[in-house]
């Protein structure tokens, strides 16, 4: 019998959100708070010759104007390469150049508009291939002198390469010579934005005793604490980071940017509270975006479709600063082939600096971009072999007993069941063999398929924790360091706790905010790792509670703890369930009928540290970066107009091996959300830059997102191959709905128009251009 797992309970935060009462960072009361606004660079790359702040300083109400010369520090989570405010040089349009702090937001903005800056434009590079070309301008001539924060990052001095990772498995040279079919293709994906509904916001203050208080819309409160502590030499115990609800993160709020600026501003004002408010436009252009990607893919196969060899180059376009992008280059090297058993692999994955907005993690950590390239190439192989693209994928799907590119031996726990996902999505989507079907004059319907896989790339020693306290009614409070970013993670944790304690999930209350002073550290709310990492901590806290309840029960029932059962909020002696003590009477210790006190109050705690992960061998990439993989298969069906190149997405189907379904409706909606995000990104979202290196689509008038009414029929199915060592076997899943969607959509459109698509976004004009080029 299941008590909580497998039940579709509403999210714990639903009522606060649907009633509009949930409070986000920018909603909090601002009594006595000062406000900061940013002036940003209008150049992609330029020397700052002069900044005249006198106009701002003379405004009544302006308290401080801060420029790069006030901020000598460098920041970065892998390489310390990024100033808080540009000093002497700007490396992207949108980079902070000055910050004005004033009594209110309007005065701060008027101050920003009164600052005069003189620039000398410098040559710039926008695409990674340009940045690697002979004679390209260097963004960071001093690259070798920067401090490395982690071991696995390899900046190459005298170049624009922030890091490089190599995968070598088997022997591609001889393998390609044995192939009947070889396809090669070059891919280009522009960067784009996360576009969380809540614009980033941060506030900082310093108390009289020197404690730094930060409130922020962050996925990484403990990383905020760490970075402020490291760079400013503040003891971590003197930093307290508070995260209220976060209005969507998608990875974009895992980077620490605004918090640093808010701290600098507060420090300048003697510790007074300062809230940094940025516009939607700055959220797009100043705060980090999604990576771009260029790729060269060569795949070799036998005539029967068996994949033998892959030679791959990925150029991850990280923009002006590295942030976490080197780790994304590593992550897509680890998963470079897609979920296929390819015995011979050579992959070089580079992270390259360019003069545009820097990038950070984006839902699925670059796998949506990597999958686009590989899955398009796999379709090209299928076309050359004359095979159904679904059947070719089924034939090559990675299985237990195969080795991954980094030479991890697959077991069912490690790799799940991709063949079953493919079989299931075939039914769910009414797969038609992948051939376009005419449905009217100039109108065709076509389907595209993509598989997906992803493992994680956390620090090998990342940790999580859970604390559980009881209320006098016997209900519980669950306290973790997980930020609620909209993926329902805290609801899943409540269900894991309830299931383990054999109670209804309604008895578990969650603390929705994170306060680093009160909540146990959780690495970051990223990588879909809430259920695995925090879930394990919660599971252990539940075991801890059960042990304490049994001890109390043993005293109350005068028996051994082994004989005590805990179920349905009751404690009783095995074999005698009708004589029970309710939680409310025993969680605070037990008061016997004669008034004597027995046992102790119950306080649950659980901690979890990742185990068994390794760094990658620098030459071969051999190693294990994550505990297991999550695999899946996705299909998109479109109706295309062959005359005007417009199209409509009719349906999108996903089957993901989630290990175990904790909350069916929640999981379905999170996967569908990922699919929607993938369709919007792939069909219309892009950061393109003009001949001056400026963003062509810097606001919501020009940057397009999919709207309600444009969405297709979403179909979501699950496979459940449990992962060992994960609570109830659940696998990371919350990012994964996005991964294969851009590729599946492009595969459908390639089939419909008979053209091999190699770039995004998939606009009618792009399809028309392919057709025009084909006519030449």
């Amino acid at each position: 019998m299941r008590y909580a797992v497998g039940h579709s309970i509403p999210r714990k935060e639903s009522w606060a959100k649907v009633s509009g009462r949930a409070k986000y960072t920018g909603d909090l009361p601002a009594h006595g708070t000062f406000f900061a606004r940013l002036l940003t660079s209008p150049y992609a790359h330029a020397r700052i010759l002069r900044i005249d702040t006198s106009g701002a300083e003379s405004l009544e109400g302006v308290k401080a104007v801060i420029t790069g010369s006030d901020c000598p520090w460098l920041f970065g989570i892998m390489i310390r390469d990024r100033p808080a405010i540009a000093l002497n040089e700007v490396r992207y349009a949108g980079e902070p150049v000055a910050m004005v702090v004033a009594v209110d937001e309007a005065t701060a903005e008027l101050g920003v508009r009164a600052i005069l800056v003189e620039y000398e434009p410098l040559p710039f590079v926008i695409k990674p291939s340009e940045a690697l070309a002979e004679g390209a301008v260097l963004l960071h001539p001093q690259l070798a002198a920067y401090r490395k924060v982690v071991d696995e990052v390899y900046p190459e001095a005298g170049t624009n390469i922030a890091s490089r990772y190599r995968i070598r498995k088997g022997d591609i040279k001889s393998a390609f010579s044995n192939c009947d079919v070889v396809v090669s293709a070059r891919f280009f994906l522009p960067p784009s934005d996360h576009f969380a509904m809540e614009v980033r916001c941060a506030e900082a203050a310093i108390t009289a005793d020197g404690t730094v208080l930060v409130t922020t819309s962050s996925q990484s409160p403990y990383s905020v604490r760490q970075q402020l502590s490291d760079v400013f030499n503040i003891p971590a115990g003197k930093i307290r980071v508070n995260v209220p609800f976060v209005g969507g993160g998608f990875g974009g709020k895992s980077s620490v940017v605004l918090e640093i600026l808010a701290y600098i501003a507060s420090k300048k004002l003697g510790g007074k509270p300062v809230r940094l408010i940025i516009s939607r436009e700055q959220d797009m252009e100043t705060a980090p975006c999604r990576i771009g990607l260029e790729a060269d893919i060569k795949l070799g196969a036998l005539r029967d479709g068996t994949l033998l060899a892959a030679e791959i180059t990925y150029l991850v376009d990280c923009g002006a600063y590295s942030d976490i992008a080197p780790n994304m280059a590593k992550a897509i090297a680890v998963d470079c082939t897609g979920p296929y058993n390819i015995p011979n692999v050579s992959c070089d994955s580079l992270c390259v600096y360019t003069n545009h907005t820097f990038a950070t993690a984006y839902r699925s950590f670059a796998h949506e971009s990597q999958a686009f390239c590989i899955e398009r190439a796999v379709d090209m192989v299928a076309r050359k072999c004359g095979m159904c693209p679904l059947e070719l994928r089924l034939k090559n799907a990675i299985r237990s007993g195969d080795y991954t590119p980094t030479q991890v031996l697959c077991t069912p726990s490690i790799i799940g069941d991709l063949p079953q996902c493919i079989e299931k999505v075939k039914l769910l989507s009414n797969w038609n063999g992948g051939k376009p079907m005419a449905v009217g004059p100039n109108k065709v319907r076509a389907m595209g398929i993509s598989c997906l896989w992803k493992t994680e790339n956390p620090p090998t020693d990342a940790i999580s924790g859970a604390l559980v306290t009881f209320n006098s009614d016997g209900s519980l409070y669950l306290n973790t360091g997980v930020a609620e970013i909209g993926s329902g993670g805290k609801t899943h944790l409540a269900q894991i706790l309830a299931e383990t304690l054999k109670i209804d999930a309604g008895q578990v209350h969650v603390i929705s905010q994170v306060d680093t002073a009160l909540s146990p550290e959780h690495w970051k709310t990223v990588a879909s790792f809430t259920e695995y990492m925090a879930g394990n901590a919660v599971y252990r806290a539940a075991q801890d509670i059960l042990n304490q309840l049994r001890a109390n029960g043993a005293e109350a029932f005068k028996c051994s703890a082994d004989e005590i059962e805990v179920e349905n909020g009751r404690v009783y002696r095995r074999g005698n369930p009708s004589s029970y003590i309710e939680f409310k009477d025993i969680v605070g210790g037990y008061k016997a009928q004669d008034g004597s006190s027995l046992g102790e109050p119950v306080l649950g705690r659980g901690g979890f540290m990742l185990k068994g992960l390794t760094a990658l061998d620098k030459n071969t990439g051999r190693g294990r970066t994550g505990p297991a993989w999550t695999v899946g298969a996705q299909v998109v069906e479109i109706e295309a107009d062959l005359k005007d190149f417009s199209y409509r997405i009719l349906s999108a189907s996903s089957v993901i091996d989630v290990g175990a379904v904790i909350n069916p409706e929640l999981m379905r909606s999170v996967v569908a959300g990922g699919m929607a995000m993938g369709m919007s990104m792939a069909s219309r979202e892009a950061f393109f830059y003009d001949e001056k290196g400026l963003l062509k689509t810097p606001n919501l008038r020009t940057y397009k997102l999919m709207h309600i009414g444009q969405e297709p029929d979403y179909r979501v199915g699950f496979v459940e191959t449990p992962e060992d060592g994960s609570p109830y076997g659940v696998r990371p899943y919350s990012e994964h709905g996005i991964i294969g969607i851009p590729a599946a959509l492009a595969n459908a459109l390639s089939a419909a128009f008979g053209k091999e698509i190699t770039s995004l976004p998939l606009t009618p004009e792009m399809l028309w251009r392919l057709w025009v080029e084909g006519m030449r």
Binding site: E105, A106, T107, E109, L110, R113, E281, K643, D644, S683, R684, F688, K696, T697, N699, R701, T702, K704, H707, G709, Q710, T763, P764, E765, W768, R769, V772
Partner: protein, 275 residues
């Protein structure tokens, strides 16, 4: 957030509006007449304009008229796009208004505001270009009536202090057959990549464009080519496109070459429908 303070004036009659404008201008406040405000608010927020005063014309009775009067349909400049659409008085203009922005904004944007805005599309102008419409203007010298096509050349050519009070459309034009095709880059609700608006007066086709060039226009040469019934539809189309192709505009919505492709498809469909 609009950071700078400004004066808000809401006059009750035409003369008060003109007087307020003159006064604000004298004080160096660079005043703007204000209809629905959607453009002024967003541009002031972005810092591209900073008016020291706005004069809201929505309380002036003449600016809120909507109805047939004698042989004319009269629409006040402060009437919103959604009201025009729902009135069904001029189906072509209603269709055009119903495709500008989204419903929320259509409830705010006024006809005068769309015509006088700085965003290049001004799609409500196309039906007026085709229907022999007139404008009632008011300014420092009082009221005057002008042909729409003499005042609207790429954009409204108003004198300082002048504003649009009403649009007058001949009743004979409002129920003529029309074609309205708006193609955006990818969305249903968006700026036009190409908007083709056509009206048929007897056998004569009148046609105007927005989005295709960097301003809305009607071109008599193009109409002559399209109406040359001596020629086949294909050669009429070729002749029209030869004139039009030069005007194709490139921006983040699409390239000029793609606009030419899209426009040709639309005109081809129009000639087929009105064979």
């Amino acid at each position: 957030m609009i950071p700078a303070n400004f004066i808000y004036i809401r006059p009750d009659c035409l003369s008060q509006a003109a007087i307020a404008f003159a006064q604000m201008q004298k004080e160096g406040r660079a005043p703007l007449y204000y209809g629905g405000g959607s453009e002024i608010i967003t541009m002031a927020r972005a810092g591209s304009i900073s008016p020291g005063a706005v004069i809201d014309i929505k309380s002036i009775p003449e600016c809120n008229v909507l109805g047939l009067s004698g042989d004319k349909l009269i629409i006040g400049a402060a009437v919103t796009l959604s009201t025009i659409k729902e009135s069904r008085l001029f189906p072509l203009l209603g269709t055009a208004c119903g495709r500008i922005s989204d419903h929320t904004n259509q409830c705010r944007i006024t006809l005068g505001g769309n015509l006088c805005g700085t965003i290049i599309y001004r799609e409500a102008s196309l039906p007026l270009m085709l229907s022999d419409a007139e404008l009632l203007l008011y300014g420092p010298e009082g009221a005057k009536i002008c042909a729409f096509n003499t005042i609207f050349n790429r954009r409204m050519q108003l004198k300082p202090g002048e504003f649009v009070v009403q649009v007058h459309i001949p009743a004979t034009a409002i129920n003529l057959p029309y074609i309205h095709v708006k193609k955006a880059a990818q969305e249903k609700m968006d700026y036009p990549l190409v908007n083709v608006t056509a009206l048929r007066v007897g056998e004569e086709i009148r046609v105007a464009f927005s989005g295709f060039g960097s301003y809305p226009f009607r071109d008599f040469e193009v109409e002559r080519a399209l109406n040359d019934r001596g020629n086949s539809p294909k050669s009429r189309l070729d002749a029209a496109m030869a004139i039009l192709s030069q005007q194709a505009h490139t921006d983040s919505e699409g390239s000029g070459a793609y606009r030419v492709f899209v426009l040709r498809n639309i005109l081809e469909g129009m000639l087929e429908e009105w064979r």
